[in-house]
């Protein structure tokens, strides 16, 4: 899948083998740091040597952040080992960064780039504990004063704010309610008094802090974009991170699956290897298929940011909703297979319990899954009218993961897609283009599903699609997102290079089977066999279980 950038292999090699007890960034060291709730210092040193911050800065500002899918592939090497290392070292700066690249003027962007390329961090101070996902209710204020602003208020539960040299702060600049009452400010150094650390169940090595700020003066030049444009910038810029963060987190399931296969192939139960038990095989095959499905969809969505940025509000929300769900559910099922070994904090499978805890924020952090569903709801009627009911061509450039990508145009991200969803519009043409066979047959029912969804959604009453929407309306979002994922999987399969496992019908058949409306039965035998064979082959050859089947450090 999408030619892995060489630098991802380089980072993979620098980080080394998880199972090597002498590796300062191996499992033993990672678990040790987690027990102490401290960052993995040796891991941070590797990321610094690799100059990971350059991955967060666009090329026009001197960095290497030219493609979202490549950024994701690089950071997957970190998430395969220690999500706390990724969150603590890079994610705050990534989130703050996309806001800067979206809204800043050239001088501000150059300043942020210099700071990051010099090894500094920028904290992303958006949320307030009191308001959670209701970001428009944020109370931290920036009051105009003497040609600049006075900052007052609290930001809490902010990753790495104590170690950051600057912060991007989401602040209220107008006391009246509404979408034009907030602004973003790039403030250097971080203002105010530090708050005590918040402790957490997972990502324990990340220092979650906060600040209390009282009438801290900043110049007018601190404002990113227009005064009052804060919410708009957040909703646009975070389309990048709401795609990229769940996409990176597939590295967690990759390692979870490896730990499960390691454990179950050596464990003997009822006179044989546990991995030969039909139920065990079935759960492993399904988790593998879910990982491929998650990566295929996330990669298509990452490509969409480059190719159809005006539609990325839809695909990024869908990634947040479905990729995070797939990962959380698959890890839970693997935990059942591992049983007590999913719970022990030591031994060869000891990393699993940490990965399970560290993965949880993928579902609620940086927008909750339910809030992402809510963000799609008011778009359904226009999407239905403009795209679902109006067949378009197969969006080959989205689906051919090896095809080139144009630069990321932050200025073309939009608050909503204006009804443009080229992936679903191309659904009919894509089905028509499939070779006759079991995949095409399995996908046929989706034509009726799309027609029905388009009919129901076109007539939805807009005023009932706000925060107090009925659960039945949320279910329509779920159906739509599943259809998007199935379409992406079919397209990725159809356009995969021959010989690649992504061109094998087993995985799209499994993907279709596992998210067909109302079906929960086990995978058909031959599909399961093909997946287990591939899984074990990759396990033996020390290759990743995701779309790229990359060689891993040994």
């Amino acid at each position: 899948m999408s030619a892995t950038p060489k630098r991802a292999d380089h980072l993979e090699a620098l980080l080394g083998s998880l199972s090597d007890v002498d590796n300062p960034v191996g499992s033993a060291a990672i678990l040790d740091a987690d027990e102490r709730a401290e960052p993995l210092v040796a891991g941070e040193a590797v990321l610094a040597a690799f100059d990971l911050n350059a991955e967060l800065v666009p090329p026009e500002h001197g960095g290497r952040f030219d493609r979202v899918d490549h950024l994701v592939e690089v950071l997957r090497s970190v998430y395969r080992r220690d999500p706390a290392l990724g969150l603590g070292y890079a994610v705050g700066s990534l989130i703050a960064g996309v806001a800067v690249w979206t809204a800043a003027d050239t001088e501000q962007a150059a300043r942020a780039a210099r700071l990051l390329l010099g090894g500094g961090r920028i904290a992303a101070a958006f949320h307030e504990l009191a308001h959670g996902n209701d970001i428009a209710a944020a109370e931290f204020t920036a009051t105009p004063s003497d040609g600049g602003f006075l900052l007052s208020g609290r930001k809490e539960v902010i990753a790495g704010i104590g170690r950051a040299s600057a912060a991007v702060i989401f602040a209220r600049t107008d006391p009246s309610p509404g979408p034009r009452s907030h602004s973003l400010l790039l403030v250097e150094p971080v203002p105010g008094e530090p708050l005590p650390r918040f402790t957490t169940a997972g990502v324990r090595g990340v220092w979650l802090g906060g600040v209390a700020v009282d009438r801290h003066p900043v110049p007018e030049s601190a404002v990113l974009g227009r005064v009052g444009g804060g919410l708009e910038t957040v909703l646009k810029a975070f389309q990048v991170t709401r795609t990229a963060l769940p996409a990176m987190a597939t590295g967690v399931l990759d390692t979870g699956l490896r730990i499960a296969v390691d454990h179950l192939s050596t464990r003997r139960l009822y006179g044989g290897a546990a991995i030969d038990l039909p139920h065990v095989r079935s759960v492993l095959a399904a988790a593998f298929a879910d990982l491929l499905r998650a990566e295929a969809f996330a990669t298509v969505a990452a490509r969409a940011l480059h190719l159809v940025p005006g539609s990325a509000s839809v695909y990024s929300a869908a990634v947040k909703i479905e990729v995070s769900r797939l990962l959380l559910d698959a890890m839970d099922r693997l935990a059942e297979l591992l049983g007590a070994h999913s719970y022990l904090r030591e031994g060869p499978s000891g990393l699993f319990q940490k990965l399970l805890r560290d993965l949880a924020p993928v579902g609620f952090g940086h927008i909750a899954r339910a809030t992402a569903q809510l963000s799609l709801l008011p778009q359904l009627p226009t999407l239905a009218r403009r795209s679902w009911a109006v067949p378009g061509p197969v969006p080959v450039d989205l689906l051919d993961l090896d095809a080139d990508l144009p630069p990321l145009r932050y200025d073309r991200l939009a608050l909503h897609a204006s009804g443009r969803d080229p992936l679903t519009a191309g659904h009919g043409a894509l089905l028509d283009s499939l070779p006759p066979g079991p995949v095409r047959a399995a996908a046929a029912a989706d034509r009726a599903e799309l027609a029905e969804l388009a009919r129901v959604c076109a007539g939805l009453p807009v005023a009932e699609l706000g925060a107090d929407a009925r659960p039945a309306h949320y279910d329509l979002v779920t159906r739509y997102v599943l259809l998007l994922v199935r379409t992406a999987c079919l397209g990725v399969w159809r356009h995969a290079p021959p010989g690649d496992f992504l061109a094998d019908p087993a995985w799209p058949l499994a993907a279709l089977h596992r998210c067909a409306p109302g079906r929960t039965t086990p995978l058909p035998g031959p599909v399961e066999d093909a997946l287990v064979t591939e899984l074990l082959d990759r396990h033996g050859g020390n290759r990743s279980f995701g779309g790229t089947a990359r060689p891993l450090a040994s």
Partner: protein, 86 residues
């Protein structure tokens, strides 16, 4: 107010009334849409409806910067005139 502007405003009132499931008489063009319970994301839906009706291409944030029907009417009148001149 020109006849065209009146038509446009009446169309917007009717559209918003449909969103809100109330009668057009109960929609005051001077009142921000938010006060009728259209939250910031749902209010954005109106721009695509206007695009379809008047064959325009609009900024997706239109309803955020012009939060009442009167304000929308004013900005759209200008856009429609500019389009007719072009």
């Amino acid at each position: 107010m020109s006849a065209q502007t009146r038509d446009l405003r009446d169309w917007l009132v009717a559209r918003v009334a449909t969103y809100l499931r109330r009668s057009p008489q109960d929609v005051d063009p001077a009142v921000p849409l938010a006060e009728y319970g259209l939250d910031s994301l749902t209010a954005l839906a109106i721009s695509t409806d206007i695009e379809d009706e008047y064959d325009l291409v609009l900024d997706p944030a239109l309803a955020w910067d012009h939060p009442t029907i009167d304000a929308l009417t004013a900005v759209l009148t200008g856009l429609i005139e500019a389009k007719e001149r072009a």
